[in-house]
Symmetry: C2
Subunit: 211 residues, 2 copies
């Protein structure tokens, strides 16, 4: 039984299809193979950013005991994935360097409210969406990639991101009322879907429809 | 053989006594037992801050391949220690909450130069000093504490901080010339010693002599 299933009323959002309001456009999928090397660089950055996000939550919400150990474990897992990305970058002789991010994280952060307790709820739900969308895209990448070792890597990560998505939602349901969280999942999901259905020139793991 | 020993010319700074210019004052040691609960809270914050410091280095210096995987492993270890602190806080029913930091980190950060490459060297050396001083103080705490389980915990951490100190210095020696690093260790060590020999009202893991 997952953490999420154990929280009564939260079962509504157990899988990514129940939370993501739109599926990724096929135009995005068609860009995966020509850009797989750059996606691996972006992926490494995403894992480090996910760890950073969780560490910041630990720091900013010290008084929420329920957050501390689960987020710390999540940081460790994200950094382990970061190291695996580095391993594959090295294996394929792809240089790891800073790259321009797509607009996804910025679009989601815009919807986060400023009042302290509301902010925490929104951050947990935004993190759940990022993990859910990562999960969907890892699945798509694993479907179309040509490199057998990377296919296996992304299949493994699909499971991890699914668990992270469930863990973030479970934390939100532990702290806030189910009706509050459910409502906010719909609102944030709408903003997420709007971004994913928009167009942008930068192609990344979480980017919108390629122009 | 440690990482450090493998770097020719770096062996000068193999143990903490060779890098720390002054020993902790006995007045600090005398405050350990009356303040052990608060020290455990501070310690949890220190582990999280150490992970944050390493993650920021990974982010800011993406182009230094030599840093990425070792720092990522260090982040994971610091977060594991953070979780152990949380376990002991829970065991002794000590609430984890934000606390005012002492002036140590601020005093060391003041000496960090701003030019990008010099900044990295200084940050690696400052991190080595923080780990070395932590190591020394974990040893002192383990010597005077009354709680057997915590004594064992701090003895284990003594070894970990010693390794972290060596790892940070090894990274500096891999990137910069030995003479540059050796000179900077002396300068930063002097600033560190000056702070440790000063006085302050706040008592923490890295605080100066208690007033």
């Amino acid at each position: 039984m997952s953490n999420l299933e154990s929280v009564e009323g939260a079962i509504l959002f157990e899988d990514i299809d129940s939370i993501l309001q739109v599926k990724t456009d096929e135009k995005w999928v068609m860009q995966v193979n020509p850009n797989w090397q750059m996606l691996l660089v972006d992926h490494a950055h995403c894992e480090r950013k996910a760890a950073d996000f969780a560490i910041n939550l630990i720091k900013s919400y010290t008084e929420y005991e329920v957050l501390q150990a689960p987020l710390s474990k999540l940081v460790r897992e994200e950094m382990r994935h970061f190291e695996l990305c580095l391993k594959y970058l090295k294996m394929y002789a792809i240089p790891f360097k800073p790259i321009q991010p797509c607009g996804y994280a910025k679009a989601l952060h815009r919807i986060i409210r400023h009042e302290r307790k509301q902010k925490l709820m929104d951050m947990l739900i935004v993190a759940a969406f990022i993990e859910a969308r990562s999960c969907e895209r890892f699945g798509l990448v694993a479907r179309v990639l040509s490199q057998p070792q990377l296919i296996k890597f992304y299949q493994t990560l699909y499971q991890a991101e699914l668990r992270h998505f469930q863990n973030y939602l479970a934390l939100a349901f532990q702290i806030y009322s189910h009706s509050q969280v459910n409502k906010r999942i719909i609102d944030i999901g709408q903003a997420e879907a709007e971004f994913v259905q928009s167009s942008e020139a930068v192609f990344r793991f979480h980017s919108a429809i390629p122009i």
